[in-house]
């Protein structure tokens, strides 16, 4: 977006767009009626070819500032406010903030982020114990929510709004304004050509007035806004360029707002569901839940999902990709509030939309169906425990905690191998060679002692604190008792006659992400507007075209010229087309008219406007 890049001195009028300043001062205001043309002088300050913010543009003299030496005008508090506001909304500041935004975004990609990779942050803490507190203090683990990052983008958006608002006003004025007067010297403009048609007797239609009328009609049909000034017509088109520009930038603000609102009103929650289990959309049912700022429980529409079956498909033939997942499908039964029940499927790229939220399939793994039986025959523990996958072949790890019902509190760390193979290094350590259940083996390390559950400190269900415990089965067990190895259906004795543990079987679990963002479609809408605005702002040329007719001794002289307002590589060609069509209307044979147009564009070699037109080019994107 083009803004006035002049270092606007305090007190002078803020002009967000030099473009429009040019429009107002307009091409040289000398009369263009026949006989009045002042061919030889150009008002430098009002040069129509130089937008005021062009590099070579003449800087507006600072009011109060004297010729030599810098005299700072006295500023009151309001003066300072205005000064800072102008600084903030200037193009240079905006550019600086943009660059700063790019730089400020970098740290967040170098260190793990709490939002996207919480485990990475924990790992970073253990790996860099000295560096972590320092980095954490400056907030690099939450880069995109940190005060400094927010400051940059908020300033940028304030600056942006400070640019959009006055520019929109200007644009509305420009939309209502008529095209400016025809410049006195068209020959200085881009694509200029002058054609004299000999003859021009009365009544032949070759008089300036009818030539101008024809030109006006033609330009109007081509979508130009026209205005006749004496023997010339002034035309402008491409207002959509600025409209697109404003739409693009406003839509960016829209994106920011809707992202913020959506994040505040929405929520995300995660839940692991084992085959056969039912998940009810209520706060307590979630394993983890991240509500937005304005979230309330009542937003959770009561529905439930039962995971009937979870199917996986792995590559079996391609030797380079054995075991690579090909498909995950969760078949669920969804029950809504009014009792409707329907069978649905959730896949990785196709979430289930239900109750105003989307349910995504983000992960999966194996869950162990285990029963711990006490010597007296009671069953203090029987449950299905999800094990977290550790690698591509789904070697999985999980924890079983039995706090009550046995002589001692026991905890078990389990390793599950869906396709167990011996690593054959003599250690007896197993590995999984394939993610599917070809040879499922569960290995349990058993600990007895204090599980630490009575302290009231919340514990993860996926980890076991072994500090207050002794390993009674596993590699570190004193008496050399090996870890318990079980295949589905098997039962093993717990050491020390504590009881038995039975591996009833393996089930699949699906890790579901429930996401609700009421503003999501709005974000998409604004993003679409951004894109549409961008296309319009960059590729619709804004240009002025003038056609001037005058009677000379040789006949009727027709002049054509254009002025680019913003990037416009095809201006010269466009003026040529206007000329060729107009000449045809004026009775010149079409092929001759075309030649005339081509002849001229050939003389300007390529599509670069040269001479004054080049200087007049202004970029406003």
């Amino acid at each position: 977006m083009a803004r006035s890049s002049d270092r606007t001195a305090p007190g002078s009028r803020h002009d967000p767009s030099g473009q429009h300043r040019t429009a107002e001062q307009g091409p040289t205001p000398q009369g263009t009626a026949a006989g009045l043309t002042a061919d030889d002088e150009t008002d430098v300050t009002g040069d129509p070819l130089r937008p005021s913010d062009h590099v070579d543009g003449v800087a507006a003299p600072a009011p109060g500032g004297g010729g030599d030496g810098v005299t700072q005008p006295r500023l009151g508090p309001i003066g300072y406010l205005r000064f800072f506001w102008r600084q903030l909304t200037s193009m240079k500041t905006a550019l600086f903030l943009l660059m700063l935004l790019a730089v400020a975004a970098i740290p967040g990609s170098l260190v793990p982020q709490r939002t996207s990779d919480p485990n990475g942050v924990v790992q970073y803490r253990t790996e860099h114990p000295d560096l972590f507190p320092v980095l954490d203090k400056i907030g690099v683990f939450d880069t995109y929510a940190s005060p400094w990052f927010s400051a940059v983008y908020l300033l940028l958006f304030i600056s942006l709004i400070g640019c959009i608002v006055p520019r929109t006003k200007h644009h509305f004025e420009a939309l209502r304004a008529r095209p400016p007067k025809t410049p006195a010297r068209l020959s200085r403009l881009a694509g200029y050509r002058s054609v004299t048609i000999a003859g021009g007797a009365e009544g032949s239609g070759l008089d300036p007035a009818s030539a101008v009328a024809a030109a006006r009609a033609q330009l109007r049909r081509a979508g130009y806004r026209t205005e006749v000034f004496g023997d010339s017509v002034s035309a402008e088109r491409g207002y959509a360029r600025e409209t697109g520009n404003l739409v693009f930038h406003s839509a960016l603000v829209g994106v920011l707002l809707t992202v913020g609102i959506g994040g505040g009103l929405g929520y995300t929650g995660q839940r692991v569901v084992v085959e056969g289990q039912t998940f009810t959309n209520a706060l307590v049912a979630y394993d983890s839940f991240n509500p937005g700022r304005w979230f309330s429980d009542s937003q959770l529409s009561p529905y439930s999902l039962t995971l009937d079956r979870f199917t996986t498909k792995y590559e079996e033939e391609n030797r380079d990709a054995i075991g690579q997942p090909l498909d995950y499908t969760a078949d669920v039964t969804a029950r809504t509030q009014d009792g409707d029940s329907s069978e649905q499927t959730i896949k990785v790229n196709s979430p289930l939309a239900i109750g105003g939220s989307n349910v995504y399939l983000l992960g999966n793994g194996y869950a162990m169906d285990l029963t711990v039986t006490a010597p007296d025959g009671t069953e203090p523990f029987t449950d299905t425990i999800p094990f977290l996958p550790q690698n591509a072949d789904l070697m999985s790890q999980g924890v079983v905690k039995v706090p009550d019902g046995l002589a001692e509190q026991i905890g078990m760390i389990g390793f599950f191998y869906p396709s167990a193979v011996d690593t054959e290094d003599g250690s007896g350590i197993m590995a999984s060679s394939y993610p599917d259940l070809l040879n499922p083996v569960l290995s349990l390390n058993v600990y007895e002692g204090d599980l630490g559950l009575d302290d009231g400190v919340p514990q993860s269900v996926y980890s076991l604190t072994t500090d207050g415990m002794t390993e009674i089965a596993g590699a570190a067990a004193d008496d050399g008792t090996k870890a318990l190895k079980l295949t589905p259906g098997e039962t093993a004795d717990l050491p020390g006659g504590l009881g038995t543990v039975t591996f009833n079987g393996v089930k699949r679990f699906a890790s579901l992400d429930v996401h609700h963002d009421p503003a999501q479609l709005w974000v998409l809408g604004f993003a679409g507007l951004t894109f549409a605005g961008l296309l319009t702002a960059l590729f619709v040329p804004r240009r002025r075209v003038w056609v001037k007719a005058s009677t000379t001794d040789d006949g009727l002289r027709l002049e054509y010229a254009g002025l680019a307002r913003g990037e416009d590589p095809t201006l010269v060609r466009a003026v040529g087309d206007v000329a060729s069509r107009h000449l045809t209307t004026m009775g010149v044979p079409a092929d001759v008219a075309r030649d005339l147009a081509r002849e001229d564009s050939a003389s300007t070699s390529n599509d670069t406007p040269t001479g004054p037109a080049r200087r007049g080019r202004k970029i406003s994107s």
């Binding site: 977006m1 083009a2 890049s5 913010d53 590099v55 193009m91 240079k92 550019l95 943009l98 660059m99 975004a105 970098i106 967040g108 990609s109 170098l110 939002t115 996207s116 995109y144 020959s187 200085r188 050509r193 002058s194 054609v195 004299t196 003859g199 992202v259 995300t268 391609n318 380079d320 990709a321 690579q324 997942p325 090909l326 498909d327 990785v348 196709s350 979430p351 983000l362 996401h515 999501q520 998409l524 993003a527 951004t530 894109f531 296309l535 960059l538 590589p569 010149v588 044979p589 030649d595 005339l596 001229d600 003389s603 300007t604 070699s605 390529n606 040269t610 001479g611 080049r614 994107s621």
Partner: protein, 345 residues
């Protein structure tokens, strides 16, 4: 043919394409050398007889009778200003006939691209899907598209002086991609099984192609600016290139197309992320870098409208932008942890 055969032939075609590109690169380099000689000769010739062409051009309001049709004479009045005044593009840049080296280089480039495209198609057939699902395939298709974009731009504007840059860059990227990133054909993992793979990634690759050309033009512009300031008197071949202003215009227009495509990539990526990962934006490392690149190019576009930033300064932004694109593809893919873990390495 089995998939393995197709993958093998694809690889054979890549190496053949690289050989042909090498010839093209050498020929383009020779063309630059020849340009140096031509420029020297031209400089000598210019000093001897007072430029004849300039005389004709500067003749002022010369009148050319164009046609006399239907008993009516139509006259085109030419004026000196319309024919290009003081800052017309450097001599010989537009009217220059391509040298033999350049013609050889371009034909080799076209031939190389044909073989390259065969390789891409075979790879796609072998995999039974679009050939850009991992880093090797991305390099393979991406380099083909850079050459394609170059040849397309060349149809509209004469940018053949960039030939050595494009073929050189292309060779390096293709060689790194093939030697370091090669992976056998594997099926798509569930997260990639989406129509967005076709759209999002393809648009990103094409955008990258435009950014590559724009960066080359910006680099040429920087050299030209230095020469204008008389800091680089040698590099004679640069005389046969357009002036810094013209190069800046070209770089800007090419980068604009890239920016539009990149904007689309960003939006399409967000839409896909919403489908696949349950959120449209999560500051994943690849998302961050795509965003940084977008901001850099947005800055580049704005810089052209800012006093004091036109010319060399803005062109640095274009080059930094492309460096970030390359960084995003290479370093971020391989060394940064993130959800876009599709390098296949």
């Amino acid at each position: 043919m089995t998939a393995t055969d197709l993958a093998y032939y694809s690889l054979v075609a890549v190496y053949s394409a690289m050989a042909i590109y090498t010839i093209s690169f050498v020929a383009y380099a020779l063309d630059l050398a020849k340009r140096s000689g031509d420029a020297q000769l031209a400089a000598k010739a210019a000093t001897a007889p007072a430029a004849v062409g300039a005389d004709a051009q500067g003749a002022g309001a010369e009148r050319v009778v164009t046609a006399s049709a239907g008993g009516r004479t139509v006259v085109l009045d030419r004026t000196a200003t319309a024919a290009g005044g003081a800052d017309a593009p450097r001599a010989s840049s537009s009217g220059r006939r391509p040298s033999r080296f350049e013609r050889v280089a371009t034909s080799m480039l076209v031939l190389g691209l044909v073989v390259h495209v065969v390789s891409v198609v075979f790879r796609g057939l072998a995999a039974g899907r679009v050939p850009w699902a991992n880093m090797f395939e991305f390099s393979l298709t991406g380099t083909a598209i850079i050459v394609g974009v170059f040849l397309v731009v060349r149809v509209f504007v004469d940018v053949s002086y960039l030939g050595a840059y494009v073929t050189g860059l292309n060779l390096i990227l293709l060689a790194i991609g093939t030697v370091n990133y090669y992976v056998a054909v594997v099926p798509l993992q569930p997260a990639l099984q989406s129509a967005w793979l076709v759209i999002h990634v393809l648009v990103a690759i094409i955008g990258t192609g435009f950014f590559a050309i724009a960066a080359g033009l910006s680099a040429a512009q920087l050299v030209q600016t230095k020469r204008d300031q008389a800091k680089l008197a040698n590099l004679r071949f640069m005389d046969t290139l357009p002036g810094a202003d013209r190069l800046e215009d070209l770089a800007y227009r090419v980068a604009l197309v890239g920016f539009v495509l990149w904007t689309f990539t960003l939006i399409a990526g967000a839409v896909w992320a919403e489908r696949a990962w349950g959120r449209y934006w999560g500051w994943d490392t690849k998302e961050v870098w795509t965003f940084i690149i977008w901001v850099l190019y947005a800055g580049y576009i704005h810089a052209r409208a800012t006093r004091g930033w036109r010319g060399a300064r803005s062109s640095w932004l274009s080059i930094i932008g492309f460096a970030a694109v390359m960084f995003n593809f290479s370093v971020v893919n391989v060394f940064f942890k993130g959800l876009h873990a599709y390098s296949g390495l």
